[in-house]
């Protein structure tokens, strides 16, 4: 087993029959996913993606990545939401902690994930004197944040390299046939990669959206796809009593039904921080609708045991913790004995740092259980590309099942448009003239 889930430490909060009673509902959800009969069924491309993805495009991705790695000190990935978090999660989780600072290989920076002039100015300052390439990722090409960043970087590239050379350094991941970015790419001759029509942003990390930046970071995307493929077989099993992916969905649903309405994704390796950010989009955007859904939050332990630990131990008792634990550390250190033992740490001499980290984990689970916080556990044998692929698929499928159990369409995101409508009206975007008078009334109010 490379990724495994267990809910032993949630059992004190569940009656034996609770999951049993949910199993037929899980079967309904399973069938909706595999027979495309549920709400949002136009967005189920991810279910069999690891089996049916375009192998020739994967080859092109690897080729482009090699090319970028050869000619660029840095790749700037321009995207937001699902076109940002998946690649960032993989790269931070699996690369050297200071990968962008070692100068040993092509650095990967992100832009277009905010509207801060400070951020983009500072990024441009950092890039001075460096050779760069761009991967702009947008289905439509008109999403405000990445579109602004891409305008800035396109001008920058054309000034720096001239129009011809710039074209070779810009890679567009976008719709197969339509949209502003696709039109521009065709016109300019950028190499393009496809965002499939039937895979939504938050489900897209294993498409070109995530894979090109991940490959540029030097990671093995073949292994990642193999892990996802293995997961797609492993979790294609209608039986709740043996499908750990569905067990995660069912347990968190059962706990939500009894008032546990915040789920904390917990890790003990700081490099997993952005896996939690990716997970927050996946679950928050899939389930947070119709005035319901577990609120997805995250903590990095043991760091945050010294900040949020007090709340988790003794605050409101509406929390669930789901721990991602990496069994085998990437590197380890043996703790030494000191002749003087002023800090009282000599009792640890001969143990490894990872052993201490694992005891912190065990001690924390027990303390939080005593405090009334159900604990779910997702164990990764080690932190590598294969297991990352498996983990992604595990969460994606669990999220879909969980959303169906909750009675929502797990694949839409109607609420994301609300702020955009207002923003467009306030910015004077053509076509939003009718909204502005209403907004002005609201502003005066």
């Amino acid at each position: 087993m490379t990724v495994s889930f267990n809910y032993t430490n949630a059992l004190p909060f569940l009656k034996e029959t609770e999951l049993e009673y949910l199993s037929e509902f899980v079967e309904v959800a399973h069938n909706r996913l595999h027979h495309k009969t549920g709400p949002g069924s136009d967005f189920l491309g991810w279910v069999d993606w690891p089996l049916h993805y375009d192998k020739s495009e994967l080859t092109r991705i690897k080729h482009a990545a090699q090319n970028i790695r050869k000619h660029s000190d840095a790749l700037i990935v321009i995207g937001i939401g699902g076109s940002y978090l998946g690649a960032r999660a993989a790269i931070e989780a699996l690369s050297h902690t200071f990968h962008n600072q070692l100068g040993q290989q092509t650095a990967v920076y992100f832009a277009g994930q905010n509207i801060s002039p400070t951020y983009i100015t500072h990024l441009l300052e950092l890039l001075e004197g460096k050779d760069i390439s761009i991967n702009v990722i947008s289905k439509s090409g008109t999403t405000t944040e990445p579109a602004i960043a891409f305008r800035i970087f396109r001008d920058y590239m054309e000034t720096k390299y001239g129009k011809e050379e710039a074209k070779k350094r810009i890679f567009a991941t976008t719709d197969r046939s339509k949209g502003a970015l696709k039109s521009l790419a065709d016109q300019e001759g950028y190499e393009t990669f496809v965002i499939p029509d039937d895979i939504g942003g938050r489900y897209s990390v294993l498409t070109a959206v995530g894979l090109l930046p991940i490959a540029v970071a030097g990671l093995d995307i073949d292994q990642m796809m193999e892990g996802a493929t293995a997961a797609s077989y492993k979790y294609n099993n209608i039986d709740l009593s043996t499908n750990e992916c569905y067990q995660y969905a069912a347990v968190r649903h059962a706990l939500y039904q009894k008032g546990k309405d915040i789920e904390l994704l917990v890790n003990y390796e700081p490099s997993l921080h952005f896996v939690s950010e990716w997970w927050k989009q996946l679950f928050g955007e899939s389930e947070g609708k119709d005035q319901k859904g577990l609120y997805p939050a995250s903590v990095n332990f043991s760091t945050d045991l010294h900040s949020m630990g007090q709340y988790v131990q003794e605050g409101r008792r509406n929390l669930i913790e789901t721990v991602i634990l990496v069994k085998k550390p990437r590197v380890d250190l043996v703790l030494e004995s000191h002749t003087q033992d002023l800090d009282g740490l000599n009792y640890l001499a001969g143990q490894t740092m990872d052993e201490v980290n694992k005891k912190a984990f065990q001690g924390t689970v027990m303390a939080h259980l005593d405090g009334g916080v159900p604990n779910l556990l997702l164990e990764l044998e080690e932190l590598n590309e294969y297991n990352f692929g498996e983990l992604v698929y595990f969460f994606q499928k669990a999220c879909a099942v969980s959303g169906y159990l909750l009675g929502v369409n797990p694949f839409d995101q109607p609420g994301v448009e609300e702020y955009k409508k207002n923003m467009f009206a306030l910015l004077g975007k053509p076509g939003f003239e009718s909204e502005i008078s209403e907004l002005e009334k609201a502003l005066v109010r």
Copy 2:
């Protein structure tokens, strides 16, 4: 006004009398703080700290910082919780976004804030060939995470520089007179700085705990203390109707009483991310006890409008948003017109990026208000040291008042010990033998 608070966009969720009815309770809290009559009154040193702090120590801090900046490529700050988050929040908020990568001044890295052998190994790899200094920050010197990191770095320094030179490069911020770190520092002759007895970790950023690393990052700590001083006058006013700091405390309390139990600290500048992490410790650790307290969470907008935005707009209606808005950006960019308008952005030409960012803010507040999320607003005239000092004091005092209104001791953290007890027992620490047999029973269960 350099920092100002308003709750106009919470008014639709509050009856006019609600705050009025709270004002006498706020007076009680105010008096507890200023007359030291409430629970936790041994930890009120921060209230008048900006007026009474040791000026000669501030001079020593600036001198040490200058010395470190002269002789070191990097400072490693070893600490966790309150000995980590405050300095990190200030440095990330106020420095260049890529300050550690520009090579123009002494970089600041953090260690001892986790037990990851990968993190510390990678940090040591990054530091190869660089000249470094250490600032170890711990009241006792025996907190596991920083104590482990300090053992590793002390050995590293003595091997690299020899014992004599290492001593000059190690700075200890610790108790004035007792504890393991103080003893070691005295014995070895490290320069030491004081963690006051009457200021808890989460309230310590404006003491040497935060100020030395902040000064090494090249920031103006005099300005920071001046901002805090101004705030200590500004918010020393018992009257709720005019004290914005108390208004923040009272409004969030009133909203909590009606079921809003998650507060999101929101920013529109990514450099404020760690201000939110610091704030989460401040409020989570102060209020999350006795099975109560608002759960403190955070989002970075507009980034997270594309991940958590759906949940905020349409998920469970138990959210409050508190926005930190920086009025004047540090730098700005004018958006250009393009001859071709494929991405449809030409309507923005001539506007600045910050203007777009502000419209995103306005559009979002209105959308979330319509969605049923009360919005509080904290405006900073600009992002600088003075305003950071004022902001820190604003939050610290608001948190204390809010905690008293909630009926807790805002200055203790009994729950933080639970996991430590278990961990020590599991690690075989002398003195925890009795706990281990109980834990083993629990593990078998």
